[in-house]
């Protein structure tokens, strides 16, 4: 068995590896190179060294977008995970219609970001019109609109992961706690939560990176209006690249920085939550 695996290993790996190199590694290296270039189209470039990186911060919008995105990530990671976990707890209690509820909560996740953003915009504007406001009235409206939208989209997905985690807890642990006279809140704190830490790791990682990388929903819901006050990092990069003559390289440099930031944050978070996981 082992020998066979070793023998055929390259054949099984090759398609994925080729795809990975072709559509990830090569574009990534090209992107890295372009961040040191001055260009209009990606096939016609002049090398300019670090000047793009020096210009990144001369554009105040980048720092603002970074702060906005960070605040958004903190709020949405908290709300999505708390709500998803709560719903998962409720839907593992065996109440009637459990499957219907699970399906309903999961559905929005099956809709693409752009479409979801437009639906969100219509719904939110439809409500806000009663108060003589729109979703792009100010940055705060856009911020909370995005939080609501992301909650709507992601809670179902995270719920599924949490449900799997909760159902994985051996019944005898819960039973033993009950016999020992633990109250439900104590069971939750000392048994359920430690036992679902692997799911927490995954969910926090997914929500955190998704929040930082958010683009479609942002573009469809507010497009940064008003005055880029609801523009997140990815949208800021997009606008830099496409909206300004001679700023393409700067947009590319921003994208490289963006990658580094998301990678570092993701890895740090993984390290922290992994340490809290317990062995069964």
């Amino acid at each position: 068995m082992d020998r066979a695996l070793k023998k055929y290993f390259p054949i099984f790996v090759l398609p994925t590896l080729a795809a990975f190199i072709l559509w990830f590694i090569i574009p990534f290296i090209m992107g890295l190179y372009l961040s040191f270039c001055e260009f209009t189209t990606v096939t016609n470039t002049t090398f300019v060294g670090l000047s793009n990186y020096m210009r990144v911060f001369s554009d105040g919008g980048f720092v603002y977008s970074f702060m906005f995105t960070t605040a958004f990530a903190v709020v949405s990671v908290l709300t999505i995970n708390v709500l998803a976990f709560t719903i998962a707890m409720l839907l593992t209690k065996g109440i009637r219609g459990t499957n219907i509820f699970r399906t309903v909560f999961f559905m929005p996740n099956l809709i693409g970001g752009i479409v979801l953003g437009y639906i969100g915009m219509l719904v939110l504007n439809g409500i806000l019109i009663n108060f003589d406001r729109t979703i792009t009235y100010s940055g705060a409206y856009g911020f909370w609109g995005l939080v609501i939208l992301m909650n709507w989209q992601q809670i179902g997905y995270m719920m599924v992961i949490y449900i799997a985690g909760i159902q994985n807890i051996p019944g005898e642990l819960i039973e033993a706690a009950k016999i020992d006279g633990a109250r439900p809140s104590q069971t939750l704190r000392h048994i359920t939560i430690p036992m679902v830490m692997p799911s927490v790791t995954i969910c926090v990682f997914l929500t955190l990176t998704n929040s930082f990388k958010l683009f479609d929903q942002n573009l469809a819901l507010t497009a940064g209006a008003p005055s880029d006050k609801s523009a997140m990092l990815a949208l800021n990069i997009y606008n830099t690249f496409y909206g300004r003559v001679g700023w393409e390289g700067v947009g590319q440099a921003k994208a490289v920085l963006f990658f580094a930031v998301v990678a570092v944050i993701g890895l740090v978070q993984l390290g922290i939550t992994r340490r809290k996981e317990v062995q069964q």
Partner: protein, 464 residues
């Protein structure tokens, strides 16, 4: 056991969901991309293409989504007549630069594309062929319209457009018939003060007139604010450039921004829509309001005819007013006439393709079929000597533009082609929106208008 089965199902569901959501998001992007660019090769042409490819082919990246279907027809007709492949791709509204940028980097790049004037030329100079010695340039009736640099000619306009304040003649006539109307006929609106008095009085008596507001919504949804940040802003910019005797500048002083504020205030305060809701309105919304007879005025250009026709408002009920902003001598001001539609030919395409493209353009401008498409089907006012006087689009808006220029009024040129970048325009638009909503001040509009002009005009490429 039951638990295990359920877990297995859950796991496969998660995996499936992961794949589904990956599909969903990529198809989301795919949908956006295909929305952004509807690619259509002429079927007749594609099959005939292989043998004819040595003769070059044409790939046109169209800027105007509203006439996309017509271009596809043209491509088929031309391919049918000559056997040359013509491929047409249309960029979605406000997505032209993005689409061009990715298309032109391909091996099969557009051979015919559009730049929006001198600023667009700066960006695309590496790709613009010098058209000085071509028949295309020879046909151009007013050579000063072309985009030039040094001795070369790099962009040639294919359509002249005009915009102003479109008004509903019936509503204005109804208003004039009211007791105490400030004017007796629409002809008396010849300056900002009269326009303001009329609009404010109409707004106050809108119930008597059976309308919902004097002006259509000042649309500010994403990508829908070009009528204000570009077209309306053009008027104060034009007067400033007039005073200075220039048509481009590294910095602007904002001499006429106070006038800009006045006209903008007039629009938003006498509108069908509350200022707080403007950010949800689109150009389509406001043209619908006009076409349904709910408002008396809407600022837009002759391209809006397609949105207005076949609705409540009849062809003979439509009139055109210049955009008055309260400048001395504006009684003699005409509509804003100009163009931002310049065709350029890809200098990096093969010579055969360039020649094929020139032939295609020549066919458009000289053959009866081509001219019919341009003028009658797409409604372009084509500025070429090959078009006779009767070969002009006939709709009330285009006619009005001709009448204004015949009456000797001074047309306001499109000074906005000097605006430094799309980002600049967007920021001006957003500042206007915040002012309209009351979340920003007019001072901020002025700061953006003046300071960002200077900041964005600095071409970073030139510094190095």
């Amino acid at each position: 056991m039951k638990l295990k089965v359920f877990l297995a199902m859950m796991l496969s569901l998660i995996l499936a969901a992961g794949m589904l959501s990956a599909c969903a998001s990529s198809s989301g992007e795919g949908a956006a991309a295909s929305e952004a660019a509807t690619e259509t090769a002429a079927p007749a042409g594609t099959t005939a293409a292989e043998p004819a490819s040595s003769e070059g082919s044409v790939y046109f990246l169209n800027f105007k989504p509203e006439v996309a279907e017509k271009w596809e027809e043209i491509a088929q007709v031309y391919s049918g007549e000559t056997g040359v492949t013509v491929e047409v791709m249309t960029a979605a509204s406000n997505m032209y630069e993005q689409t061009l940028r990715s298309e032109i980097a391909k091996t099969k790049a557009p051979t015919l594309f559009q730049i929006n004037g001198p600023v667009g030329y700066q960006n695309w100079s590496d790709y613009c062929l010098d058209l000085k010695d071509t028949e295309f340039y020879e046909y151009l009736s007013d050579k000063s319209l072309a985009v030039t640099s040094g001795d070369g000619v790099y962009g040639i306009p294919y359509a002249i457009e005009g915009y102003g304040i479109i008004y509903n003649k019936t509503i204005v006539a109804d208003y004039c018939a009211l007791d105490g109307a400030v004017i007796a006929s629409a002809d008396e609106i010849v300056n900002f003060d009269t326009l303001k008095a009329v609009a404010e009085d109409m707004q106050a008596r809108k119930d008597e007139l059976g309308i919902e507001g004097a002006f259509a919504s000042t649309s500010f949804a994403a990508g829908e604010d070009w009528r204000w940040q570009t077209h309306l802003a053009n008027v104060p910019l034009y007067y400033e450039f007039q005073d200075k005797g220039v048509d481009d500048a590294e910095t602007v002083d904002g001499t006429y921004l106070e006038n800009f504020k006045n006209i903008f205030d007039l629009y938003i305060n006498n509108s069908i829509t509350s200022p707080n809701l403007l950010s949800s309105k689109t150009v389509g919304d406001s043209m619908a309001e006009f076409a349904l007879g709910q408002v008396a005025f809407a600022q837009n250009g002759d391209w809006a005819w397609g949105d207005i026709k076949d609705n409540e408002v009849g062809e003979d009920e439509i009139g055109y007013l210049p955009i008055y902003i309260g400048v001395d001598g504006e009684e003699n001001q005409g509509l804003c006439v100009g163009t931002e539609n310049f065709w350029s030919i890809n200098s990096q395409a093969s010579e055969a393709d360039q020649q094929a493209t020139l032939d295609f353009v020549k066919w458009l401008l000289t053959s009866d079929t081509g001219k019919d498409y341009l003028v009658n089907q797409m409604g372009f006012t084509a500025p070429f000597t090959t078009f006779g006087e009767e070969e002009a689009p006939s709709n009330p808006l285009s006619n009005s533009i001709l009448e204004y220029s015949a009456s000797g009024k001074t047309a306001v040129s499109w000074a906005f082609s000097a605006m430094p970048s799309q980002t600049y325009k967007n920021h001006v638009g957003q500042a206007l929106l915040e002012y309209a909503q009351g979340t920003g001040t007019w001072d901020n509009v002025e700061i953006v208008f003046i300071d960002e002009w200077a900041a964005e005009k600095v071409n970073p490429t030139a510094e190095q």
